[in-house]
Symmetry: C2
Subunit: 284 residues, 2 copies
């Protein structure tokens, strides 16, 4: 496995893989790799002849009041973890490589980025779609892997890849959870012991709502269930809960399945997000 | 030469060229091909193993009050012209192929699109950078060719290609002119005989200003010369004249070379644009 910083080294590596007729998988990450990332990486290592992991804490997807400076960084451990999983190349560029002076181009997906996290993180998805566009052009992979935990991000990137005709398959990977149900996230390290103890309540609330939806409840009902359940958890401050269509992300309102119930909540200073998907009857 | 409508046919063609080790040139056009387009096409035919010409009147780069519906269309003649020049593939998609229902993604270059034509055609360059991104991902050419007549467009696309890391060379091609100096444009067919007779005054005004700049005049002086010269042409209504830096497109103000003097003017209902470049001393 090699760790490279420059775009030309990545291109050279990918060219050599292609020369041998191989296909390339890309797992874009911000580092601080955890079991969720490893699930993406394993899927690529299994499917692709070569797996490229990018590690880059992308400044354009952080708002001015967000945790860019504090975001956990652990390149040494990340490299070791990738090595153990059979990754072929790590691309860990500097900010000035990715955003040189005079940088002025942004990729934006309209509509899908208005609700859910987009409402509370203006500019966030613009930063995500811009950096992912750059990475897709740098690596030119056959497949790129994204976790379902960031559900809106997954849908936004699928839309972008289709709209801009990137010749690539976007592969979704299921959320990895701790034994108690907490979705694994790089930001979980911010939690105090007390906060960590109650953190699984978010997913439990989503599961309760999903159960009700399976029994015929509407989107609005589902949102109400999550709200009421989390009101019983004094450390939690719910930012939003929205029941949306899994593809269009439009509110389900009085409608039932198919549905994704997505929520964000603050536990102290840490923001957690999670979601649960309930398939439509015809998809069972 | 083949004429295809679907993205998969383009991809198949390009794959076969690449298999043989060939390189691919793309000339993106809106059809109504004229000598300016043919100069782009010839440059590609000379340099590249295969030349793809796209013909697509792109709705997202026209404003609501602009000439989308009236824009000249002449596919049959365009096909014949491409055939005569040795083009290998024409990609002439339908609007629904390029912008299917649910399309929501746009590519935007900030700053460079604020002045010049951008000030008078809000959204125009967003439409251009979006469709060019799509075409670059569909064709994946080694080189793409753009005329210097649309100078701001050329600089915006160069910026976009660099910022988003498209693995491609953007090749500029000099403006082709009628014998009397009028820059060749698909929109010249809109001109009445009387308008056509005075149309070369735009470039003559730019040449006078460029002469003065060569003799030491500033950007502001150059703008003044163009304004005053065109005031003597009653049919002309100058929309803007700006003397800018050739790369940053920032106003030159009191400064001299290097400089591009760019102007847009209405002749009756037809909008003409043109520009002239004066290199810096050190580039001579």
């Amino acid at each position: 496995m090699r760790v490279v910083k420059t775009i030309s080294e990545v291109r050279e590596f990918v060219r050599s893989v292609r020369k041998g007729g191989g296909c390339v998988g890309l797992v874009p990450t911000m580092g601080a790799l955890h079991a969720g990332h490893l699930a993406l990486i394993r899927k690529s290592v299994r499917q692709d002849d070569a797996t490229v992991v990018s590690i880059f804490v992308n400044p354009t997807q952080f708002g001015p009041a967000e945790d860019l400076a504090a975001y956990p960084r652990s390149l040494e451990q990340d490299v070791a973890a990738c090595q153990a999983e059979g990754v072929d190349l790590i691309f860990a560029p500097d900010v000035t490589n990715m955003y040189p002076e005079g940088f002025a181009t942004y990729v934006e997906v309209e509509g899908l980025t208005d609700g859910l996290c987009g409402r509370f993180r203006p500019g966030h998805f613009r930063g995500v779609t811009t950096i992912v566009s750059k990475l897709l052009n740098i690596v030119q992979p056959d497949r790129a892997y994204f976790g379902e935990k960031d559900y809106q991000q997954l849908i936004v990137i699928k839309r972008m890849a289709a709209d801009l005709n990137f010749p690539i398959e976007i592969v979704p990977v299921s959320t990895v959870r701790e034994k108690d149900g907490l979705a694994i996230s790089s930001r979980n390290v911010y939690l105090t012991a007390e906060e960590r103890a109650v953190a699984p309540a978010l997913y439990r609330a989503l599961e309760q709502a999903a159960q009700a939806v399976g029994d015929g409840a509407s989107g609005r009902d589902a949102e109400e269930i999550v709200k009421q359940t989390l009101e019983g958890e004094p450390l939690f401050k719910l930012q939003y809960v929205e029941a949306v269509h899994p593809e269009t992300l439009e509110p389900r309102g009085d409608q039932g399945t198919p549905m994704v119930i997505a929520a964000a909540a603050h536990l102290g200073s840490t923001r957690l997000i999670d979601n649960i998907k309930i398939e439509g009857r015809d998809q069972c």
